[in-house]
Symmetry: C2
Subunit: 394 residues, 2 copies
Amino acid sequence: MTDFLASLRPEALDAPPSGIVEVWNYGRLREGLIPMWAGEGDLPTPAFVCEAATRSLAAGETFYTWQRGVPELREALARYNARLYGGEFSPDRFFVTASGMQAIQIALTALAGPGDEVILPTPAWPNFAAAVGVRGARVVEAPMSFGNRGWTLDLDRLADAVTPATKAIFMNSPANPTGWTATRDELAAILDLARSKGVWIVADEVYGRFVWDGSPRAPSFHDVAGPDDRVVFVNTFSKNWAMTGWRVGWIEAPPQLGDVIENLIQYSTSGVAVFVQRAATAALDHGEGFLDHQLRRIGESRALLMEALAGTGRARFVPPAGAFYLFFGVEGEDDAGDLALRLVDEAGLGLAPGLAFGRAGAGFLRLCYARGPDSMREASRRLADWLSARPLRA
Amino acid sequence: MTDFLASLRPEALDAPPSGIVEVWNYGRLREGLIPMWAGEGDLPTPAFVCEAATRSLAAGETFYTWQRGVPELREALARYNARLYGGEFSPDRFFVTASGMQAIQIALTALAGPGDEVILPTPAWPNFAAAVGVRGARVVEAPMSFGNRGWTLDLDRLADAVTPATKAIFMNSPANPTGWTATRDELAAILDLARSKGVWIVADEVYGRFVWDGSPRAPSFHDVAGPDDRVVFVNTFSKNWAMTGWRVGWIEAPPQLGDVIENLIQYSTSGVAVFVQRAATAALDHGEGFLDHQLRRIGESRALLMEALAGTGRARFVPPAGAFYLFFGVEGEDDAGDLALRLVDEAGLGLAPGLAFGRAGAGFLRLCYARGPDSMREASRRLADWLSARPLRA
């Protein structure tokens, strides 16, 4: 029998399985389970978005297209960003990608390779570190702390992580899984650090519309950075418009990177289907109503969950400012990986174990509360009942 | 002004622009031009394929899905391959990718990196060599020869290209751009070479259904390789079913590579939209009639083109056995890059310059004849007229 794996590249062999997918596969087919392990809600894509794709297909838009994205979508991205952040945006800054994940992959391919380091505040979405590893570069963690104010990022610790090998700092705010949301001052300080060290910022502001203090959006590097700054934004249509399954996202970067990004798209997936781009354009231009609907719905679920969990007296959390996850610990339960499996078996609940988000996440669970209130009420009840029925282990 | 490019990775900066896209962009908007530069036909995707996607969208299949592809599509791939090659195929061998290009990218990521070499018979589709470069590996060309029998591959020359750093041989048969189609004996000899050196074969048989001697398919590594052989097949739905714009393809590999491939998919685009996979499933299960229609149509166009070009007495070519390209030289015209631009301006014809396919392609032009006979008759007339009106340069 041939040992097929022996001759594979170490970067490929070392790409870790996703700790989220592991528990997902464990419980995927359980009858009645409420799945809250993935970063997606329970609403399908709104009809007006699907219909834009359907119309495009019926019109025969099934041929190769622009590697950077169709002009109409790049213009819609410029309009959307101008509405959200103010000022003018050129369509030349935008590049359509086959998912937010691919936006990250392309940005990393441009910025980091063997011998390079990328700084990552943790706990963090595991795919970022894994994608750095696939490029042969090294992730340097800047662990966040959990305390009375919830999760916080120590900027001195971030600065200490910079070495001569550092090529980029990956900043995800609002953050998955912690919900940590940088203030404008924090973003300015991080940008100053990047400027002084001559390193790039990869800004993942995918959850920027999901903030819970009534603001229309979270603080953004758009608020502090200028055209001379080395900032690459990576984003996705998945969250705002319930398009997780579509695999479409975008990069915003200095236009000088345009040819490099176009070539990297060409040699990875060679562009995104036109009919998918028509749907994405519809989402940007006509999607605010749906997003408002989502925010009200998820906000109600968020309140229900927090109240139920607080009532148990056993959950360690501080209500996070952004995103749609609760990253919490359970008193008396140190092995969150085991806990996630028991919650599948004994409570019919699908949560992701904290270790999937790096060592800093050990002992925590991630719960995605982007669901309707009825479903969330039931999930909260199950979780509270399960916690109450199990006394603290001695 | 910040020098944004100075801090980018060399692998990214060195990714070349596509020489095909260059002339395409030059002539993309010319009124009345007949575009034959890209590897796609003039038919939109058949309605039954589009409708499968539309039904899936209407049914709300817009969520995250299996990283390896939905089980139904992997089963359809197993059935399709069993029909085409005989024998049994396990769905475990198949992995759905976001284009044939991504199939190549993922295979290369598993097989080659810095310090490694990949052998490539040339002229060849430029994206393969470019994707090797993005991985930091090195392409070693095995130049083919053009003579009275058309393009031929010297197997001794291929063997000479193997070094201790060789990780894989990329074999594209039927080949883009030359139409060269390996015999079963040639494939067996190449497999023997790979076995004796312990290197992988990456088999790109994307044009395997486009052969012009009446056979249902070209010889395949499926005909000679066994389950212990290090062969990875990369393929796409683009050509057989006119789905170039969909960006969906597949990898067939030993199931032992399954976890590695799943992880590499996870960390590049995280899967393919379910509704796209429903369309791909329909194409495999119900697409033979459309493929027959395409083959008759393109076969007629092929004959028209060859006859018209032979009549000029100035075109150097031998009718190739497979694929849907003519890769030909023009007596008295050595600079095919310049010639391609003049054909845009003076004849309203879009062809790709041979240098886009490597140094071995210098002096040649690639013409994609996957068009209807009416359009091809007009294109052939324009080309013949243009050649007749321009006497040989002294």
